[in-house]
Symmetry: C2
Subunit: 226 residues, 2 copies
DNA sequence: TCAAAAGTGTTGGAGGTACACCCATGT
DNA sequence: ACATGGGTGTACCTCCAACACTTTTGA
């Protein structure tokens, strides 16, 4: 027991890389830091882990406090622990990435924190190692999107295949052949065609789809063979 | 600044999941815990992060102390932070996985710590959440092996294709077609045939190969397309 | 001589890419 | 009428799984 005592203790924080999707662009929710050091500079949403709270719980709490949303997709990215990553005092930080539907996001929270949705590929410099956290999160998001359908996390509950394709194009920063993309996505058997059509984005109108309720967690089995 | 003060501080540890490969089996280095609580029970190699030391550095130090080896492949797996993960006192732990060549491992260190190489699929129960750490590490290892050549980390510097295949079979817990495996691996252009032959494992004798010096970091581009 | 690994070749199928083509419709 | 996305079909290519077959050599 006394073995434990002699070791140093650290402040441990969580930082959330919050992805949203709007107007054909993948966006990130960042805000001007509210306190010193680096007060006013752009930063990820973060907070310190409290007693009797796991880092997962802390990340969910931070997300709830800053966006007003519960039950968000959250995944741990990595822990950042360079001893000089914050100038004034040592803080170890566990980075998380979150996917939220911007439509659900409570706008009033924006004002409260001065937060801003910012396109991921035009991000300003962030404090400390937050840009690195974003890079790693983007990679994780690409991985996740590669073997599960992120549509249900980032898009409205019903969406057209054009919208889904645009989302994937935003995530991978490349374009996909419309015909092939459609066939691929439908062949997975995870999408359900609705009766409703969306006519705002094309003359002909495209059917809405939704993720089949039981297939939300579908693994697209892009499994490594070798 | 005073904002920082009011938050709790935590002991932060690293735990190392150390993979080795021997006699056709993927093995893990574990040892009987040297202090309370859970003294004597099987445990991963771990240690507390010290002042002015990052978790990466701490993991490398723990590895050095317990195996005598420097410059080992080490990768962060995940951070475990459930508030009750250790019964007596709260500790947040960053798990790492390491790949080492058992041949290089200093045997005297075994005696010093009572450590033991244990086949991964016959592991005894480990303390706390260490079994979970092992599971996640194995997944990471499979991922890594899926798009880079782990041969150079786990095998001697020269190896036959049989040895490489047995290693991959151990990692993925499945068998590969010998002919296809050979063709696949050679087609990557990362292996160099040596003049020497190994005659201990077959009558005919198999040529040794090594990873081309410039291809150690080769990505096998098993890239997500969609 | 036979078993077992080394090493090469062939074949069929699955799935991805590129691209042609028709459909529906608002402007 | 025409531009635009919706939606379908096809030809080609790559890669992989399965498996046949020959070679070598120690037991």
């Amino acid at each position: 027991m006394e073995f434990y005592v002699q070791h140093p203790r650290f402040l441990v924080a969580v930082d959330c890389v919050i992805f949203g999707y709007e107007e054909g662009e993948l966006k990130l929710l960042i805000y001007p830091r509210a306190f010193e050091p680096e007060k006013g500079k752009w930063s990820l949403m973060g907070g310190f882990i409290q007693q009797a709270e796991s880092s997962d719980e802390a990340a969910a709490r931070v997300l709830k406090e800053t966006t007003g949303l519960n039950e968000i997709f959250l995944e741990q990215v990595s822990t950042f622990s360079a001893s000089d990553r914050e100038p004034s005092e040592r803080v170890i930080s566990v980075a998380y990435f979150a996917l939220i539907k911007i439509e659900r996001y409570k706008k009033n929270k924006t004002r409260e924190f001065g937060a801003k949705w910012w396109p991921v590929n035009e991000l300003p410099p962030l404090i400390f190692d937050h840009n690195e956290m974003v890079l790693q999160s983007l990679k994780k998001l690409q991985q996740k999107a590669g073997h599960s359908l992120v549509g249900s996390e980032l898009l409205p509950s019903k969406f057209t295949l054009l919208q889904l394709r645009k989302l994937y194009e935003a995530i991978y920063q490349r374009s996909f052949d419309p015909g092939n993309f459609r066939k691929k996505m439908l062949s997975l058997g995870a999408l359900e065609k609705l009766d409703q059509k969306n006519s705002t984005e094309s003359k002909k109108g495209a059917y809405y789809y939704r993720v089949k309720p039981d297939k939300t967690e579908l693994e697209l089995e892009r499994i490594i063979k070798y």
